[in-house]
Symmetry: C2
Amino acid sequence: MKPFNPALLALALATTLPASHAQQQPSPTVPGYAYGQRTLAKAPYTMADLKALQASLLFTEEDVKALRQSKAILADQTDAVLDVWYGFVASTPELVYFFSNAKTGKPDGAYLEAVRKRFALWILDTADANYDQRWLDWQYEIGLRHNRVKKNKTDDAPSVAQINFRYIPALTIPVTTTLKPFLAKKGASAADVEKMHAAWVKSVLMQSILWSQPYIKDGEF
Amino acid sequence: MKPFNPALLALALATTLPASHAQQQPSPTVPGYAYGQRTLAKAPYTMADLKALQASLLFTEEDVKALRQSKAILADQTDAVLDVWYGFVASTPELVYFFSNAKTGKPDGAYLEAVRKRFALWILDTADANYDQRWLDWQYEIGLRHNRVKKNKTDDAPSVAQINFRYIPALTIPVTTTLKPFLAKKGASAADVEKMHAAWVKSVLMQSILWSQPYIKDGEF
C-alpha cells in the first residue's frame, strides 16, 4: 500500500517504456482498432441488458452529457493522459507483467506502443459513446482481447496468455483518478469537473463489467 | 436511463419493503453473520494477491485512515443509510428481482430483512477492516452467498438461484454515491468528506472484485 509517487512513475516510465509521441492525433486507421467493423462478433449481452446495467450504476443522460463535455477538453491531451497511465502501469509490477514478453519477462515495447495507439482512441470513444449495438459489440471484442481467448492476437505479441480478471474493474480507479486533473485544465467549473469525473468513473466501471463477460462462468454474467 | 428520484424510491420502499427498525444497533449475534468464524473456508486468494489488488486500485494507508474516520460518523446512521439503499433496490426492478420469491416473483420481506441486518454490520466492517486472512475469508464467503453456490442458504430463502455477476461491481456506484451525504452530516470538512468518499469507492470496488471470484472461470481470476 505504498503511496502513488509521480516522480517514481516518471522514472519507471523512462526506463521501461518507448518514448511517447508528441501530441499524436488519434486516427481510426490505427492497427487493430475495429469499432464499428462488421467483422466483429455480436455481443452476448443485449441493449436491454445494457439499460439495466446503466440503471444499476445510476448512469443517466446527465452522465452522457458530462462525458461529451469532456471530449473537447481531452482531445488534445490524450498523449499526456497516456503518459500518466503508462507511468502507473510501468511502476506497478503486477500490471506491467501483462505487457511482458512471456519468455524474457521484460516489458515488450512494441506491444505497449500498439496498445497505446488504440488507448488514445478509447479515451475519445468513451467521451462520446452512443451505447448502441455497434458499441456493445466493440466492448465484447475488447473483453475478448483481455481474456486468453484473444489476448496478443491483434498485435501478434509474444506476451503472457491473459490479463487476470481482477485487475480489469480495479483499473477504473487509477484511470479516472489520474484523469481528473486533465479534466480541470481547460477552464471548466469545479462543479463541471466533478460531474465529468463522476461520469467517467461510471462509464469505465460499466465498460470493465462488459469486458469481464468472457471470464464469467456460463449463465452467471 | 431515468434519473435517480428519491421521492419515487421512498414510495417504492413503502410499498414493497418491511418497515425499517428505528435506529437498530448492529450486533455481532445477527443470524448468518460469520466474520471471523473458524468454520469459514479459506479464501482462494492470498494476502499477496490482496496487496497487488490494492496497489492496482491506488488503495493506500490514507484510505484506511479515511475509512476509519467514517466509522464514528456512520455508526448511528446505518439504519438511515439502509433505508436509502433498500429504496434504490426496491425502485430498480432488475435488482429487487434478486430478493424475489422464485415462485411468486414478489419481493420476500423476511429475506430482505435478514440480509439488511448483516448489511448494517457490513457498513461498519468496511469502515474498520484490517485486511487480514480472516477478512479475506469473510469476503470469499460473501461472494459465495451471492453466487449460486450459496445464495439463499444462509437464510433458507425461497429466492432466485443467483445474483448475476454484472450487478455486483456495478453496485459500487449507488452504494457510495448515496453514502456521501451521510458522511457529511457530522461536521467533517468538505476535504475530509471527499477523502472518505473516495476511500469508500475503492473499498467497495475492491470487495466486489473479491466477491466475484466464484463467478470466474478456473485460472482466470
